[in-house]
């Protein structure tokens, strides 16, 4: 492991890669502060830029964008009660009341230190857990992978659907259907191309991500007459006050951070769960643990109430890299975008990544830590200035998002058809968004489609067409039972709610 850490440090600490972490964190913070534009859009917009880099650098840049976006989301949560990303909703429960009491600077500092500590601790957990899990996952067989993908897709549908499980499952199926377009990987038989040569190689992943996130996000903003930059304008005008944290507040944070980081990391590792659930769980757990006097302060500007979700959401970000790096199966929509980008680089994430591309594996882990330091040193004092950059009118922001999306496809294929297809998918996605059809399950399904078919093919061929492979191995059975449990729990919760 020491050798791996050194490889990672050597790669991550080059001038170019440190610069990429800085650029990523900075850009991510900007996008994260805009309500509605989350990390997935930010990462999608970065994809064309990464074409010119090696895989490690490209992924380091995207990881920086991810952390930056989560941090930026906390800022608008605390200062305006307008969370930039869903993972920072719980931050606003105590962060916003604190800002209203004239302690905006302090609230931001608590959030930044908690994020830093949560991210650092989870990077350490990842450091120890990922290599061991990589070794364990080498024993995984095709049926296990197939079951794991079913689990991931069901979980993301259950957790991201805001009570609309069937809609999310429809999006999963649509994502898998889009992934099935083009040549079959084994027989080279073309499917669903309707004799159009442009579809022979299938639909590009970048095209789908750009269309369903960046482009449809921009169209939704115009359609709904939203102005995400208005929040940033207000942030730039807010008086922050002191960013110093006193001894009593630090003592409270010392207790909250370790337990919230563990919760956050473990939730992040679970496929589909992610930062939102982690932050809510950590907030709820903290409220149950603290004494009655502190409990009274929750919702009115509690230090513990702010520190817990902030620690957990950053820890969950690192945790979500575990299934992607060790199993090659992304646990969230954001890591699905990164997985797609990695596949675009010709790198196959999974248990063997640890052995075949150690520089990528370790440099991502090391860059997480560097990213945390950069967020703390650079972004915290710079928040009012970053917000000023953001205060560009949406009349400029929207065309620029469209420009980045179309450029991303243009430099990849030099093909008009892909641009039309992207616009078409974006229009459909915008319409579906209006009726609350979630997009992350579609992206995850699109990324996993090919792998899922491959593993099902192998499993069925090995078992001579019998579906017994689903319960032949204990591991496969356990994963499937977990999937069933998630579905049952989800329906039970919905019925109880009614």
């Amino acid at each position: 492991m020491i050798e791996g850490i050194l490889i990672g440090l050597t790669t991550a600490l080059t001038f170019q890669n440190i610069l990429m972490v800085m650029v990523g964190c900075f850009f991510g913070t900007i996008i994260g502060m805009l309500p509605g534009l989350g990390p997935m859009t930010a990462i999608a917009l970065m994809i064309p830029i990464t074409y010119g880099f090696d895989p490690a650098t490209g992924l380091i840049l995207m990881a920086g964008v991810y952390y930056g976006a989560v941090f930026g989301g906390s800022t608008s949560s605390i200062l305006l009660n307008a969370p930039g990303v869903p993972g920072t909703v719980a931050t606003s429960f105590d962060g916003y009341p604190m800002a209203q009491q004239g302690k905006a600077g302090k609230a931001l500092a608590i959030a930044a230190w908690s994020s830093f500590a949560g991210g650092t601790l989870s990077a350490i957990y990842l450091l120890f857990m990922a290599p061991s899990l990589s070794k364990v996952s080498l024993s995984f067989r095709s049926p296990d992978y197939f079951a794991l993908m079913i689990l991931g897709l069901t979980a993301i549908a259950a957790f991201s659907s805001k009570g609309q499980f069937l809609k999310a499952m429809m999006m999963v199926v649509l994502g898998l259907m889009l992934a099935s377009v083009g040549q079959d990987s084994l027989s080279d038989i073309t499917r669903f191309t309707f004799n159009n040569m442009n579809l022979t190689d299938g639909i590009s992943f970048v095209l789908v991500v750009m269309a369903t996130f960046a482009m449809s996000e921009a169209l939704t903003i115009i359609l709904k007459k939203n102005d995400p930059t208005s929040a940033a304008k207000q942030v730039s005008l807010t008086e922050l006050g002191s960013i110093k944290i006193n001894k009593e507040e630090r003592t409270k944070m010392y207790k909250t951070i370790p337990r919230s980081s563990i919760i956050g990391f473990l939730i992040g590792v679970l496929p589909g769960a992610g930062a939102t659930i982690a932050s809510f769980l950590a907030y709820g757990m903290e409220r149950n643990i603290v004494n009655d006097e502190e409990k009274e302060k929750f919702g009115k500007g509690s230090v513990n109430g702010l520190s817990a979700p902030e620690t957990a959401n950053n820890a969950a970000c690192s945790g979500s890299f575990v299934p992607m790096l060790t199993l090659g199966i992304p646990g969230s929509g954001t890591t699905a975008v990164m997985l797609g980008a990695l596949l675009g680089f010709g790198v196959q994430p999974g248990p063997r990544l640890y052995m075949t591309n150690p520089e990528i594996f370790w440099s991502i882990i090391m860059s997480m830590y560097i990213g945390m330091v950069i967020l703390l040193i650079l972004n915290l004092p710079l928040i009012p200035y970053i917000a000023r950059i953001l205060a560009v009118p949406k009349n400029y922001l929207i065309p620029l998002i469209l420009f980045f999306s179309i450029t991303g496809i243009y430099v990849m294929s030099f093909n008009n058809f892909d641009i039309y297809l992207m616009i078409g998918i974006a229009v459909v996605a915008t319409f579906l968004r209006l009726y609350d059809f979630p997009m992350p399950p579609l992206i995850l399904a699109f990324v996993l489609g090919g792998l899922m078919e491959e593993n099902l093919r192998r499993s069925l061929l090995l078992s001579n067409g019998s579906w017994e492979f689903l319960w032949d191995r204990t591991l496969t059975l356990c994963i499937l039972l977990t999937t069933i449990l998630i579905v049952v729990w989800h329906f039970y919760k919905t019925i109880i709610k009614k």
Binding site: M170, V173, L223, I398, T407, V411, N416, Y435, S463
Partner: protein, 156 residues
């Protein structure tokens, strides 16, 4: 049963899944693969049935939270114009080239979204695209096809 737009979308998805399933059955596989436990049409067939199942459930089951979209409050005109500009941009980018079409796309998008600060609009289109092209083509070595700049001798 209450008919709302979500149910109409689900019904459309049901029809789409039925079409997908029909097309999946039409996939030509090799003769020796016809009776294999898994061939090129197996997975799409499962997907077709899954689509029918989930969308069918959505159509049949009662809707707990009906989503009502106020169409009167939506900005269809500007969105439509923006989509049209993007289509024109897509149609001309290969023939005219990246620099000119992208700059004009940005400039016209700013205009149709209501911007009238001409200097800023110019700066955030032509020089901005030139700088971005330099970043991609000059620094990151990403090839950008541009017949217009090639014809005037700016690009090799």
């Amino acid at each position: 049963m209450n008919i709302n737009t979500t149910k109409v979308i689900s019904l459309l998805f049901f029809i789409f899944s039925a079409f997908y399933l029909y097309t999946a059955y039409q996939i030509q596989v090799f003769a020796f693969d016809e009776n294999a436990p898994f061939n090129a049409r197996t997975f799409p067939i499962y997907l077709g049935y899954a689509g029918l199942f989930f969308s069918g459930l959505k159509v049949i089951l009662p809707e707990p939270n009906t989503i009502k979209v106020q169409h009167k409050n939506l900005e269809y005109k500007k969105t439509g114009i923006l989509i049209l500009i993007a289509i024109i941009y897509g149609a001309t980018i290969l023939k005219v080239g990246y620099f000119l079409t992208t700059s004009l796309f940005l400039f016209s998008s700013y205009y149709f979204l209501g911007e009238r600060r001409w200097v800023l609009m110019f700066l955030l289109s032509f020089p901005f695209v030139a700088a971005f092209m330099y970043l991609l083509h000059g620094i990151l070595d990403i090839y950008l096809r541009d017949p217009f700049l090639q014809s005037i001798g700016v690009m090799g």
